[in-house]
């Protein structure tokens, strides 16, 4: 067991746990989007950012392991401001708030963010949706690159991010393969994990 504090409250917690895990146990929930228990953490969305004494940058609660004497703030102004901006980024990239899943919309409303100044999604991205299969379909322009589908897939080579920057895309297999030409077994594991409906199945 190690000693830490969260929001100035002293706690004794199990070593080896993440800030997210111990905060949840202490009844101090932290919003998460890309994190999904059971999948390896990638910490890409950063909505779980927290402030830790001695670090000049915010740290992702979902992958940062607690250390002895860590002093954590989960609701400081700095943290909340960053989350607000990031939530607006998510809405901007997704192209609106209505079609985000309930959980994300709830976090957005807790943060008081319900729209974005700019909507960024590029209609050109839609061209790439044709690579999906009959069973699993892609609405690329809604994707927020949380990487959940990539991690949920049993085969790490089937769903990939390709290109970069504002042109980042989800693609299948090597380069621009059709999903049908990959080892995809249509198990559908990638579908329910998606918070945006960007990967979906209408079967």
């Amino acid at each position: 067991m190690i000693n830490i504090s969260i929001n100035n409250q002293a706690l004794e917690v199990k070593a080896g746990k993440t800030i997210l895990q111990v905060a949840k146990k202490a009844g101090l929930p932290i919003p998460t989007i890309c994190h999904l228990p059971g999948l390896e953490s990638r910490s890409v969305c950063r909505i779980c950012s927290v402030e830790v004494e001695g670090h000049n940058k915010l740290l992702p609660a979902c992958s940062t392991v607690v250390e002895e004497n860590m002093q954590i703030q989960t609701q400081s102004t700095k943290t909340v401001n960053a989350r607000k901006v990031l939530m607006e980024f998510i809405i901007a990239e997704h192209g609106g708030i209505e079609t985000l899943n309930t959980q994300v919309r709830e976090y957005a409303s807790q943060l008081g963010v319900n729209s974005a100044r700019f909507y960024l999604h590029d209609q050109k991205l839609k061209d790439c949706n044709r690579y999906s299969s009959d069973y699993i379909q892609l609405a690329q322009e809604k994707c927020i690159h949380c990487d959940r589908c990539i991690r949920a897939c049993r085969d790490s080579h089937i769903i990939n991010r390709s290109h970069r920057g504002s042109a980042s895309l989800l693609t299948f297999g090597e380069g621009d393969s059709l999903l049908d030409d990959t080892a995809c077994s249509s198990c559908g594991d990638c579908v329910p994990v998606c918070p945006t409906g960007a990967i979906y199945s209408d079967r």
Binding site: S41, R42, S43, V44, C45, R46, I47, S49, K57, L58, P60, S63, K78, N81, A82, K84, V85, L86, F89, I90, A92, E93, R117, F118, L120, I144, H145, N160, R161, S162, H163, R164, G165, S166, A167, S168, T171, E174, G175, D176
Partner: protein
């Protein structure tokens, strides 16, 4: 081996695919001239490997070498400016297995590593061989920018001509990906590239010295950093109360090229030698660096001095602009660059860089409002606070320094 790595890499979706590369062309046409690089010029070909031989023949002990490096205060020249020994010391408890030498030099308008690899390849190989002995490492990956064909050949030649001196070290001299792939120069992205994965940065911790290449402890050093080692052993006096460093000066100047400077000297003195014409403003630290007007050139060129102006040394890139240029336009080019070059991994950077570009477009159209300026500051703060790697953390520096120094905002 090389072909294998490339093949694996290219198969990772089309990340490594890129359009006609203006950048390669530019890197090839710019003349790489050394000017006032006295430490390098003073090192003759005949002296090559003398320092390494002294170590092999026990004329100087490992402890003495370490002391010399310590006394020199040599710092990482790739942009970190962390004392080299500090970096090494952190790795020792993990028993480092690999040394990765980063010769990608992806920062536009930066050619100092090219200069060394092209003209002084033996210095780099000697420096890395000394490092390997000190660190008890026998596997080295030296990754060279794939536009640097001649440098690659020169390095390979030095390695093959000195197999005797290098006999316990396995040196893989490999080309990097398409040089347009700026992000692969980030150290953990480079590790992914070598492993044949998509060149995205990794989450830290674990740091490369804890879990690096193939999960083994790995030290990553810049070309220039290691090349200084034989020089500081030969001429310790050059480092007495001084920190020499190479910079690339370019832009509207008569004498563009690579200059050896003393860190802490005034920027004014440093750029003087390049003979700027009608100087109006300066970009310090490369494309992720900041812009300052001419009136601020009195600043000390080192980490502390520059940080007061919101700038960083970066990889020693300085560009000078004359009075026909527009800082706003230069800043917008940086914003455009980052929007393209973000690896796309994390939300703050992938989306933030697009917001920065939208904002610079507003400035170009004179459409900015108090609200959009304050939003821009929040975006910048969030990118700095939450981006995974240095690209996202630094991407807003050009716009922030522009607002500060040219608009008082």
């Amino acid at each position: 081996m090389q072909a294998e790595i490339k093949k694996q890499c290219f198969s990772v979706a089309s990340f490594y695919e890129s359009a006609e590369s203006s950048y390669v062309k530019e890197k090839q046409i710019i003349k790489i001239e050394g000017r006032n690089v006295s430490s390098f010029e003073a090192y003759s070909k005949e002296e090559s490997f003398n320092q390494l031989k002294n170590i092999i023949n026990n004329k100087i002990s490992n402890t003495e070498v370490l002391e010399s490096i310590y006394n020199s205060g040599l710092c990482g020249c790739g942009g970190s400016h962390i004392p080299l020994l500090k970096k090494w010391q952190a790795a020792i408890p993990f028993k480092p297995e690999y040394l990765v030498v980063n010769g990608l030099e992806g920062e536009p308008y930066t050619y100092k590593d090219y200069f060394i690899m092209l003209h002084y390849p033996q210095l780099l190989i000697e420096g890395l061989a000394i490092s390997c002995r000190l660190l008890e490492i026998n596997e080295v990956y030296l990754i060279v920018n794939s536009a640097y064909k001649l440098a690659y050949e020169n390095l390979s030649k030095v390695v093959s001509e000195n197999t005797n001196l290098l006999k316990n070290i396995n040196i893989h001299v490999l080309y990097g990906p398409d040089p347009d792939l700026y992000i692969v120069g980030e150290e953990t992205a480079l590790l992914n590239y070598i492993e044949g994965k998509r060149g995205e940065p990794r989450l830290k911790p674990p740091y490369p010295h804890e879990k690096g290449l193939w999960n083994k402890s790995t030290i990553i050093n810049n070309v220039e950093t290691l090349s200084w080692i034989p020089l500081l052993l030969k001429s310790p006096e050059r480092f007495k109360n001084k920190h020499p460093k190479l910079v690339t000066l370019s832009g509207d100047v008569k004498l563009p090229g690579i200059y050896e400077v003393d860190m802490g000297d005034s920027l004014e003195r440093i750029i003087h030698k390049a003979e700027a014409e009608d100087l109006s403003f300066i970009e310090v630290g490369g494309i992720s660096g900041g812009l300052i007007p001419k009136k601020l050139i009195n600043v000390n060129y080192d980490v502390n001095g520059l940080s007061k102006l919101g700038l960083h040394v970066g990889s020693g890139t300085i560009r000078l602009f004359n009075n026909t240029r527009d800082p706003l336009l230069e800043m917008s080019k940086s914003a455009e660059f980052f929007k393209e070059e973000s690896c796309g991994r994390c939300t703050p950077c992938r989306v933030g860089t697009q917001e920065l570009l939208k904002f610079s477009q507003q400035l170009l159209d004179s459409n900015e409002t108090d609200e959009s300026i304050s939003w821009l500051h929040s975006v910048s703060e969030t990118m700095q606070q939450t981006s995974t790697c240095g690209l996202g953390k630094a991407a807003s520096v050009p716009v922030i320094t522009y607002l500060k120094h040219f608009r008082n905002l």
